[in-house]
Each structure stands twice: as structure tokens, then as C-alpha cells.
Symmetry: C2
Subunit: 263 residues, 2 copies
């Protein structure tokens, strides 16, 4: 059991740009909150303070985040007609855990338009099974909160058969078809296993240093098509970039992160 | 005439994490300082405060930056063994002009390594001419400070002949072969004309909302190979992402920005 995404990212204003929230059990990998989930909590507080939805968010991850109470301190840096910019720090036990810089504003339909790439091709959602439990270790609790359906060519790493390409494609939805808003895109941008797991390189995990999420549209109802890849892995760091499309084929999110490559 | 990059980005500590600097004439496009140049000034101050070179920098652009005095206020958020994170705001006339969040640390050679893409192919530096003055309007003063040599297939937009692909490739160097350090990569990441100019879409300029630069290596001496593209243009916004390789073929920088598309 557990709470849904909206409840798990709820925030309460305690005045002066400060918000209280709870990092919930069940949104973690091995006891450390998923980075996209943690970002979503902070962005919920920032968005409430600013009064507009997020357009571009950058988070730098400072410490692991166990379940428990947290506080988000939001500072409005500039509030203009079209855009507003704010910084925030999410702290746990008095220690800065995640620090962010973000610009907020409503989508502005219209203007010149060109899409150089088509939505990633996937087997139909209905025909895709949620992956069976891995043969290696327990299923992360997070996978009960979200409904990930990986492309069958990209899921072999879970059983020791990496594809050799540092890429993971698949469908993303929240459990019980909970609607996906701009803030839930933060979670979608960091919910899949690291694509480096398909590279065959000896990388055991990929802790995020920095994650930037660009909201490029408000998702239409339905599961999201996602593609993530690492193109450059060296000197103890890797990139991971992603595109997320909604059910109408509109690009709704781009992400890029810089992560460490411990063995 | 004018000062070189090192002098144009010099900062002086005035205590308590505050630095004074000057936004110099000659590093602008039509009187507004180039975004990469402005970021370089702020990152110079942050790097001096932290005592380490930048690894990942995000800047949000709040106001145009005319030539003149500026002040950078740096706040250290966390200083760890491997990485240190700081925020900063560059102000002019008491108004926040650029606000940043960045993580600093030395490159850590070794570890797993894979490069999924080769350096961009360009005609040899020696065979590439600095482009002749455009037939449309004066040459930006910035082009006297840097030595950009665009791929001949990508420079036609300057004479009303866009390639139709939202892409610009070319060489980057500082004038007089001034060495390029990690901070100069901020400039390189934003020095080329917007690739959307090659799209044929009616976009007159592309003011940056957010720019993130990942430093992936310290450049070896010599000019840099650069490739920039916009893949998704819609709803008044575009992405622009780039890769920069040094003379040994090492990827030294990745960039991505979100920009507005006014007519």
C-alpha cells in the first residue's frame, strides 16, 4: 500500500516561503528517495509559492533522502509578466538535501513550430506487460507506485543480458492511472533505471549530481512514451538525456542529467 | 580594440562571498552581453569562492546586460570531498540579471568509458576562413573577440539562405589563440548564432531562458569542434543542445538551453 503521487508530494505552507512536506516510504530505491520524486516535492512547493507551473527546473543532489519530514525554503528571484524565477532548498534534519533553480510560467501555444524527431516507437501500451520481477533481488518499492513498461529489447539488463546500447525506452504511467501534471513529469524524467545498465560497462548505480527538466507541454491523458540514453561516459561521470511524449504525440518533456559512475 | 577573455571576465573579491566585475564592451550582440560571456564572469566568481573548477552550471537569464559594473553574490550550499555546490546572482544596478546554480570539482580521470558519438566532422581549421562580413547589417563586435569558423554548409542563413536544418557546426577559438579553460567553455557553449536561424522558421532571435553547461574535460590546446542543434520548437520555446570536442577528439562540454522564439 501507500499514498498516490498527489498525496506523496503534498506540501503545506508555513509562511515566509517555507513549506513542510514528507518524503514518503515507497518512493525510494533501497531506502533513498527517487530523485525525480524528491524534485517533484520541491517543485510543488515552488510552484505554489510562485503561483504558476514549472517550465524549466534544475536540481543538484547533495545528500541521500531517507523517508521522513522535510522542509522546502523558496526564494522568489524575479517575477515578471511571462516568467518567474525562484530558487529553493529542500532540507531534512536541518541539512540541505536538494537545491534547485527553476523558472515558472504557463505554456504559450502558438508561434513557429517544428519537431525534428518522431515520438519513440514502442509496442502498444495494452500489449506491454509490466515487467516480471527481476531474477536479481527484490523489486524496488517504487515500482508499485508507477507503471513502467519497458521496451522488450531494453529490459534484458535486469537478468544479466544488457543490450549493449546505453538506452532504455518504455511507457510511464502513475499507478491506478492517476493523472500526470507538469510536476509529475519530474518523476517521469528520473523513474526508469539508468540506461548505462544496458551498456555492459561495470557501473553499479548512477547517483545524480544534477538533473534539468524542461516542461514542453501539459500532457494529454494517458501513458507517456519515454526514451533515455547515455551518450558520453568517462572520467567518473555520465550524461543521461531523455524525451517524453504524451498520447497525442506531443513532446511534453526533455531531461538531461549528469551522474556519477561508481562501481 | 578591447580586452581579452581573461581580463574581460576578471573578478575582485569584496568579502563575504561578494565579487565585483565589469561587463565589458565588445562582448555583446547589439548592446546586450552574450549569455555565455555573462555566465563566465559569474562562474569565475563562484569558482574563486569555492576554490575548484566548474563541473555543471545552470544559469537563468532575468534581464538584458548592458556594459557596466556588476556584482556577483555567491552562496556556498555544500562543500564535500569530491563536489561542492553553490548558488549565485549577478546583479547590475541593484537588479538581478543572471542567477545560477552550479556544482564544482576537479575532473577525475579513469573509470568506465564509452563515447557513443564521434567528434563532429568539419573542414580543417586551417582551411576554414573566418566568415566574411554578412551582407545583412554590421558584424557583431563579439566576433572580434572570438574566432568562429562555421561549417560552410551552415553559414548560408547569414545571407538569407538557411540550410533548412536547425543546426550549426563550426570551430571555436578565442582571439589571438588565448588558452581555453573550463570557464571559457561557458562562452563557447553560447557563442554561435542560434541554430534555429538555419531552420527557415520566422524566428528573429532566441533569448535564453535557461542554459546548462556540463564540463566533461579540460580542453587540450587548440580550437574546439562544436555542433549545436534545435530539435523541438513549439509553443514559443525551443531547445538548443550542443557538444564541444577538443583537438584530441575528447568531448569537453555538453550544453542545453531553453530559449524563447520571438518573431
Amino acid at each position: 500500500m501507500g499514498v498516490n503521487f498527489a498525496a506523496a508530494t503534498a506540501v503545506q505552507s508555513i509562511g515566509d516561503g517555507r513549506y513542510g512536506a514528507t518524503v514518503h516510504d515507497g518512493w525510494d530505491i533501497g531506502g533513498n528517495a527517487n530523485g525525480g520524486y524528491l524534485m517533484a516535492i520541491a517543485v510543488r512547493a515552488m510552484s505554489e509559492e510562485i503561483g504558476r507551473p514549472p517550465l524549466t527546473v534544475t536540481g543538484h543532489y547533495l545528500r541521500p533522502a531517507p523517508a521522513g519530514d522535510c522542509e522546502i525554503d523558496v526564494t522568489t528571484i524575479r517575477s515578471g509578466r511571462r516568467l518567474a524565477t525562484a530558487s529553493a532548498t529542500l532540507s531534512m534534519g536541518g541539512k540541505a538535501t536538494l537545491t534547485l533553480l527553476a523558472t515558472f510560467g504557463d505554456q504559450a501555444p502558438g508561434g513557429p513550430s517544428r519537431q525534428m524527431e518522431e515520438p519513440v516507437e514502442l509496442p502498444a501500451w495494452e500489449d506491454s506487460a509490466a515487467p516480471p520481477p527481476s531474477t536479481e533481488g527484490p523489486k524496488p518499492e517504487l515500482m508499485n507506485r508507477i507503471d513502467l513498461r519497458m521496451h522488450p529489447d531494453d529490459s534484458g539488463f535486469r537478468d544479466g543480458q544488457p543490450s549493449g546500447r546505453a538506452e532504455i525506452r518504455g511507457w510511464f504511467a502513475l499507478a491506478d492511472a492517476e493523472p500526470i501534471d507538469a510536476i509529475a513529469l519530474m518523476l517521469a524524467a528520473d523513474a526508469f533505471p539508468p540506461p548505462v545498465f544496458n551498456s555492459g560497462l561495470p557501473v553499479a548505480w548512477a547517483p545524480t549530481v544534477e538533473l534539468t527538466v524542461h516542461v514542453r507541454g501539459v500532457p494529454a491523458p494517458g501513458p507517456l512514451r519515454c526514451a533515455f540514453r547515455s551518450r558520453f561516459i568517462h572520467d567518473g561521470l555520465l550524461d543521461e538525456e531523455g524525451e517524453i511524449w504524451d498520447s497525442t504525440g506531443t513532446l511534453v518533456c526533455q531531461s538531461r542529467q549528469l551522474a556519477l559512475t561508481p562501481r
